[in-house]
Point group: C2
Chain length 121, copies 2
DNA sequence: ACAAGTGTATTAAATGTCTTAATACAGTTA
DNA sequence: TAACTGTATTAAGACATTTAATACACTTGT
């Protein structure tokens, strides 16, 4: 389900959260679907249960999953996270484009980047 | 010359390097111009000389400055870094736009982001 | 009621990175 | 020669991440 990258310098809990988020955002995990238990996923990833716990807590905080004590974690409906994700992505794009601009990248070049990415099907 | 942001969670040496890089990229520091000495900049920023030293080492590694032992650090000619910076920025933009795309952002929305950033003068 | 599985919380220890500090050494300049 | 440059090393502290070992509360199925 998930493969961790130990060359990545970001914390493991963030990596886990991000990878699950991507699965959810792209439909690899559907609303209502049950996630692995904290302990099972920890075993799967050879990671401490606390690490998974933190990842799940972050995901719930952002609306991607719903946690029910004693039962487990379930993927939330799109309505709970889609808007937030979108605005987060837009902010991120703007930040990076701003950096690129101040590094000397021109409008046309930035637009070309975007088009190129969207042409990859 | 530089103001550090202690809320920023990135290492100080990276922050220093990035801020100087921005100054160079935007012409605030011209090729041939002398940078503050390791010790002086450290005093200015209330930071350890080792921290500045690491920042300068990173900048030399990327071609932004030239270090001459005993003399100091000097801004390199554009030829040494401009191309690298540009391709680095373009890669970064593509990565983020790719993330945004897979999160559901549409082409028009991404283009709008870019235009908005470039309209801020 | 019970056992097994869930999430949650806490505390302690280990680890790794960043930063400071104190020095020392080597090259350049006036 | 004195005062400035960059460079290197070692030790210590601070901090975040991760592991580990428990304990507790809730849910499910028998």
């Amino acid at each position: 389900m998930i493969v961790l990258d130990y060359r990545d310098k970001r914390p493991l809990n963030e990596q886990v959260a991000e990878k699950i988020m991507n699965l959810i955002a792209q439909g690899g995990l559907s609303p209502g679907e049950k996630l692995p238990s904290v302990r099972n996923l920890a075993l799967d990833l050879s990671v401490n249960p606390n690490t998974v716990q933190r990842a799940y807590a972050a995901l719930e905080e952002k609306g991607y999953i719903t946690t029910i004590t004693g039962r487990g974690n379930y993927v939330s409906d799109e309505g709970n996270w889609k808007a937030g994700l979108k605005s987060e992505m837009i902010t991120e794009v703007k930040v990076v484009v701003g950096k690129a601009k101040s590094a000397g990248i021109k409008l046309d070049e930035a637009l070309a980047c975007v088009r190129e990415v969207f042409e990859r099907d």
